[in-house]
Point group: C2
Chain length 558, copies 2
């Protein structure tokens, strides 16, 4: 049974991770204090806080129990714990979009059952945290090798649709509230202005003015800059005169929970059947995080970054479990690895030099500052924002800007998603179809078309699941995609077609005995075998695919 | 003295034009009545009416004496006369942006002198019309061969800047009027929405969905579609409730002048010194039209269209003069050839077939319906719009949409303007500079840079002239560019550099004796001589440039 990894026997993976990482622990705190790492701290803080606030606002609107302070506190505590205890401290953790969607589903379920949402949420996380620890001990993280582009891109499309609908519904709602027409229009301008300005600035890397550093800066900070500018506009002249008609971020006056509740819940003031039932969302959180956390972790440790200190997937997932238990006890959202922030963090720590390879100038990483305090400091900053006077600044942001940010996230996540790319090919005029992908030249277009239609249909079925009372189960459907890819699709498409459209991700063949399997860096070395070697054992002269390439394909799964 | 054309002796050019065109006159009315020509009528009507209304609204706001009816009537009458009597009836005439700018300047001058603007304007046109006839008789149209890209693109940049400022100032003014904030915001949305939607739709030719016909349609009708959509939005729900706070197009209830004056002015109820002084704006109109009308006419008769019936530049300019005398008597704006509508008109009448040449599929023109009634009918339709009930439809268009259209016209005119392209190269990061132009590879970049800086400086000097009391003289500055190119630039740049950056336009060398010079089609066959043969006589194995290429460079001079 090739499915079960070697580590699936006790704590072997975690212990190995600990043994390898422990000797390097002191250097994690002592080395690389310089301008580059300082810049990295602020860069990570800003790129993480904008989506965090956006999700927080969505949670505040729907659940009324979780707001900006809760989300920031979760990022702060989880980030600090993870940066201190994890084996790979480069992974930035935070509250993601899928977690937000799941939280809203859990809220809906609690409401339907007429039980306390916060208790239900807390117990789900406590169970989930414990499951994480067990899963880490069992070496379950290794299963990520079966998550191909088929799952990642269907997931990405689903998230894009949900974000787009969230943003659009947010904007439409301005016109149903009983406020002045001027406020409705101003909020529409703020929302669409944020979307368009973010899209424009995010494209800065394609500009030709300035230098690359400047363009990358503008591109990376696009949503932050857009929110700052539109918040500024909303605070001057007649826009500011709109007063409370213009809805701004709902934040408390100082560090405290959104409803004024105490931080620690009385966990046992809750029916036992509720505690048992919370195992359902707990399992779903586990399934989501096996997928989501490990993909971000792999991307943060991509081969191009030339990391030296080694990885620790099992230990990391165990530490993540501890964090989730804690966030559960506090009744605040759980954190996991962030895409694209985690890989951006590693990239920001790389010292690169330009080198000409095959006539093309490329960046070659000379070294990467592998340390813990950039992650720790950015997490700390996220906490500081929850206190006066900074929390007052957050309270100035119009909610409309965040609706716009959702639209931006949806639109900017589509390029690079192969499902989206194939959809564009399907709707294009036949004479104008073109694609850089090998499958486009290798396969009959009718085959590509039926594969794409099927995948789109699946994506929309899952989307409609999220609109039903069982919306919470959507990560199960995502997980089921792995099964569909491995067991169902081969019934309708031949093996060569499937491997061309969706190559399986395998451990590098230079590591066949599992001796070094716990060093998961190997998984970042993806192998595309175009000749049909589907099962793991078979090798063949597989063409190595650059890890960064496949990583970037996963970006939209954030 | 190579400057003076052969025709510069009496009416020779006009007579030749008449003799050649007369035998084909009957067929101009009898042939080619089919679906293609019918579509062309409506296409031309819509692509001409949108900018016409925009300019009309600008004129109404500034002069209060010229509005939508005046501009449409001018297009209608001039178009009908031109289509019936001109030698080349494919040229669509109408009120252009430069004419609008000039009209506003004439208004400013009349105001400063405290004389009747309409009388001053009328006399200027009557003189100008007579001058046109004299110029046509003298064969002056041939001078257009000296108008190189240097003049065209400086002119284009100037117009783009003026349009951009007009649009932006229009939007800024919403906030200075004492209306509700909701109306200000709604107008801002309508303006920027029109700009962005127009830009988006105009890019349809680069889309891949649908077929080429659909994409070309969307692209050609972009501003019309954008105005229709945003006008629709402005008419529903709370936007419509804004009532008179939302400024709409100022049209009379039925066909009549904007202020209710009679159509025929008492021309002699005006001081004699004013009649004499109007010779100044008259000369400027002449200089502008020699430039603007003939460029559009050449473009409408580009070699690619395979026209068979021959051209008639001298006769056309004479007929244009007659039209200007008439518009002058009515006190409505003068018309001349429209760019890009004139070449679009011819293109819409071409029957093409796809052909593979050198491995690339190209459109080859099989025949073009050379006739008079498409032009005549679209002109007639423009007049019909001035009567009930259609005029009521025009009155529903928010003025803000037209401000947005100005921004669109400014932005969409820039690509293809070599001054703009070189400006982009100058501000680009040196490593990322790239250009398809031959001069980019042939010349030292420092030279390109100083040439571009000089040209930009000239463009902005002329722009600042338009802000002064002598703004009316801007066509003189444009005309002076020809002198600058031929006499001043050679002092600072060597001949090879100038010919690379700005090749002189010459009659095709296969027509050296002037025998067929009156068949101006030859001028569309532009010759680029990279080896430095500046004077007309010298031939050399000049590389023939496709006419359409150079024509498209002139598009922004509209």
């Amino acid at each position: 049974m090739g499915w079960l990894p070697e580590e699936a026997s006790g704590f072997r993976g975690i212990v190995k991770d600990l043994k390898r990482r422990a000797p390097k622990y002191v250097s994690d705190w002592t080395e690389g204090h310089n301008a580059k790492t300082t810049a990295s701290i602020f860069f990570m803080f800003f790129t993480s806080i904008a989506p965090a606030i956006t999700f927080a606002e969505l949670l505040a609107t729907t659940t009324e129990k979780i707001g900006v302070v809760e989300v920031c506190l979760s990022s702060c505590l989880s980030g600090m714990v993870f940066s201190v205890f994890a084996g790979q401290p480069l992974v930035i953790v935070g509250v993601t979009g899928p977690v937000t969607i799941l939280t809203i589903s859990i809220y809906g379920m609690a409401k339907a059952l007429d039980i306390s949402f916060l208790h239900f949420y807390a117990w789900a996380q406590i169970w989930a945290g414990l499951m994480h620890m067990a899963a880490a001990a069992a070496g379950l993280c290794d299963y990520i090798r079966y998550i191909t582009n088929f799952s990642c891109h269907t997931f990405g499309m689903l998230i894009a649709v949900i974000y787009a609908v969230t943003g659009a519904v947010g904007i439409a709602k301005y016109y149903t509230r009983s406020q002045s027409f001027a406020a409705c229009l101003m909020e529409t301008i703020l929302a669409l202005g944020t979307t368009l300005l973010s899209l424009y600035l995010a494209n800065a890397s394609n500009w030709v003015i300035g230098n690359e550093k400047f363009r990358t800066f503008v591109s990376d900070y696009a949503p932050t800059v857009a929110i700052v500018i539109w918040t500024g506009i909303s605070l001057v002249g007649r826009a500011d005169d709109l007063g409370s008609d213009l809805t701004r971020l709902n934040v408390p006056r100082n560090f405290q929970t959104i409803g004024g509740r105490t931080w620690f819940l009385n966990l046992f003031d809750f029916p036992v059947w509720g505690i048992v039932l919370s195992l359902v969302p707990a399992s779903i959180i586990l399934i989501l995080f096996i997928f989501d956390h490990n993909v971000s972790s792999i991307m943060a440790q991509s081969k191009e970054f030339q990391l030296k200190k080694g990885s620790a997937y099992h230990l990391d997932f165990f530490v993540l479990g501890i964090c989730i238990v804690f966030t559960g006890i506090l009744g605040i959202p759980p954190c996991n690895g962030l895409i694209p922030q985690a890989p951006l963090h590693t990239k920001s720590l790389c010292v690169v030099r330009k080198e000409k390879q095959h006539g093309v100038v490329v960046d070659v990483v000379e070294r990467t500052y592998e340390q813990r305090y950039t992650n720790f400091s950015q997490a700390l900053l996220t906490g500081v924002v929850c206190f006066r006077p900074l929390i007052g600044v957050l309270g100035q942001i119009p909610k409309a800007c965040l609706d716009g940010l959702f639209l931006f996230m949806a639109l900017s996540s589509l390029p690079g998603n192969e499902l989206y790319e194939r959809f564009c090919l399907v709707i294009a005029e036949p004479a104008l179809r073109k694609s850089p992908h090998a499958w486009f030249r290798a396969l009959d277009f009718a085959t590509i078309k039926s594969f794409t239609k099927l995948q789109l249909a699946i994506a929309f079925v899952i989307y409609f699941v999220t609109l039903t009372p069982i919306s919470m189960t959507f990560p199960l459907f995502i997980a089921a995609l792995v099964y569909v890819r491995l067991k169902v699709l081969p019934k309708y498409f031949d093996e060569a077609t499937l491997l061309a459209l969706d190559p399986l991700i395998e451990l590098a063949p230079d590591d066949p005995d599992g001796a070094k399997k716990d060093d998961f860096n190997g998984a970042a070395e993806l192998v595309e075998d175009p000749r049909g070697a589907a099962d793991e054992g078979k090798e063949g002269d597989a063409a190595a695919m650059p890890a960064s390439d496949s990583s970037s394909n996963l970006l939209e799964a954030a």
